[in-house]
Symmetry: C2
Subunit: 415 residues, 2 copies
Amino acid sequence: MSHGAEDRLAVDAGLRARARRVIPGGLYGHQNVAPLPRGYPQFMSRGLGSHVWDVDGNEYIDLMCSYGPVLLGHRHPRVDAAAAAQAAAGDCQNGPSARIVELAEALTATVDHADWAIFSKNGTDATTQCVTIARAATGKRKILVAEGAYHGAAPWCTPGPAGVVAEDRAHLIQFRYNDLASVEAALDEAGDDVAGIVVSPIRHDVNRDLELPAPSFAAGVRAACDRAGAVLILDDVRCGLRLHHGSSWEPLEISPDLSAWSKAIANGYALGAVLGTSALADAARSIFTTGSFWFAAVSMAASLATLEVLAEEDTVGRTVKMGTMLRAGLADQASARGIGVSLSGPVQMPFLTFAGDDDFALANVFARRAILEGVYLHPRHNWFVSGAMDEADVDQVLRVTDGAFDDVARAAAGR
Amino acid sequence: MSHGAEDRLAVDAGLRARARRVIPGGLYGHQNVAPLPRGYPQFMSRGLGSHVWDVDGNEYIDLMCSYGPVLLGHRHPRVDAAAAAQAAAGDCQNGPSARIVELAEALTATVDHADWAIFSKNGTDATTQCVTIARAATGKRKILVAEGAYHGAAPWCTPGPAGVVAEDRAHLIQFRYNDLASVEAALDEAGDDVAGIVVSPIRHDVNRDLELPAPSFAAGVRAACDRAGAVLILDDVRCGLRLHHGSSWEPLEISPDLSAWSKAIANGYALGAVLGTSALADAARSIFTTGSFWFAAVSMAASLATLEVLAEEDTVGRTVKMGTMLRAGLADQASARGIGVSLSGPVQMPFLTFAGDDDFALANVFARRAILEGVYLHPRHNWFVSGAMDEADVDQVLRVTDGAFDDVARAAAGR
């Protein structure tokens, strides 16, 4: 059933056919490529540094980093060695290993607002724990969340409505990101029943340009929480350790009370974490939250090694440098063709959209050319620059995007 | 601060002191040993087969199996080799590996009722997905659960009330395990709004004897679901693959519509799964549920190897044989001293309680002697027999429990 360029995905096609028989819809969740243009492989085989390979052996420069978990590059030797050494002793045991103490010490030393840490497996585990801790601490119920923000995929926060009941969101009140007046209005609505405000360090809603926080917004949310006696919860799951070697609002000098972490903190190993202030330690202790694999040692060993690398190498600086080169190159290429683009987000979490491209048709043209020529990026979700990406990678990405912009120009002209 | 026998836990004590500074209460969740008698190590170092070692180097025969995940024994060579081979290629990537298809095929071939599979990281992920799928499929809201049953630690199901709001459980209706009349009463209460019934294959509530399902109860719950148009959800997270090489109610010839799995399915690697019937595939496809690490390949490779071992070796038969020896030995030792005990549960998930021991004081005396003499069991939670346990292990356990029963006899006499 494959045609032309899709012969390159013959193994992938065979696996997709098998998958449709044993997995509903063939796949689920954020790694389902069904909404992506034709040409994306569904199944991946391996990764190394800044490069990844699909099951047909096609090689790509990776601009998705597994949707965020890979920060230092795929199969980072130091992280993988630490994980393998731990695996040779034990992973999931009758109790945690010493790694849990070392990691809690390392994270509280790295993140300014953090006096303690608890660990889990998913970002959703961590955001849900934050909400539960805020309610336990305050004895209040209302949680303020930004319209369109993604805080995980449990019934209280999943963007999909199927199977969710109204009560799952009974105590959520929405505000608009970067709009302090809307935060005040939400607080008014909550009255004396507000437990906390959940906010991402940047606005990274799917299908739209990323938006940095106005410093006055971050400061205003902090002040609003202080006035209302509410817990400020920073959802650092996607951004954590990519923007700053610490909590992502530290450069703004804004300290949350709780922060939720996952994705990059163990460079691809499954780990979630909540970090909090000493004022919330009793509340954290009071909730019952656990999981069969939450105390497993391998991902904690990987996280310790990741933090060590980040402390020794300026990964944020390096990804900013590569991200800046990439953004400048993309901007030049678009400008040279008179193509209107938006290049949003921190440069190491870049996102490209096209002016007037509400249905993402031009983004899909761009992404399709990129994937066919060996660059794995995404038309609707921000990208990620890993610490393994070098100038040669950026040059090669830009050679490919040069052609992709040509395709976009042709598609736009044909409209 | 350690005394006498606790000198053996000097490294552990040092780690506990450090942990109290950076982890609320020193630890959280089911692996917190604070409620256990003095003598239990909090921190573990390694495992091999049926034996585990704490951070002070003390060795134990393991009767907890990491609270369930370890089925074939710690660091099973074939499982670990499969995991390491996969890790050398890739784990968390931009898409799943071929392992997800192979594993969905293997599980649907192994479990009678299963036509499809989806994967996650926690047992709570799986039970929550089951509830969401049942609601999506039926358009109804009420979920029936057994009083005292444990189905995970999300706000809708956690046994701890802190931070939970009434709405989290707004549509839960309780019945009593093995009491069909209570199921009918719950269905009456739900009226025409029932989405599903969640039930464990055996009753394994904490702090009480385990209870096998009456075959008429299992059949009655199935019939009640059919009459009410409700989804029968079997929570096989704790029992799955320990009682039967397939769904745990297959020996009763009762098929659920959905089943939740985790713990033992990858012999200690972090994995959750929902298996379902083709009638529910569209509903499963309709919900949005995902996680950063849900598509990671290593735990799936480990699960495939686990299923291969289970298909080739009669692990259930072996653990039943060892569990039967253990139970007979414990019964003889108690009987010889005139100590009233209850030995409940399937023999490979054994549990021992003492008559009239409502505060678990005698259970604690028993457990303390066991842990000090190198047998890791639990005074309030069922134990687990792994496939790595042999007759020499059982003999050694019984030598230790012989002394533990002496201690119990003395403690009971002193009451």
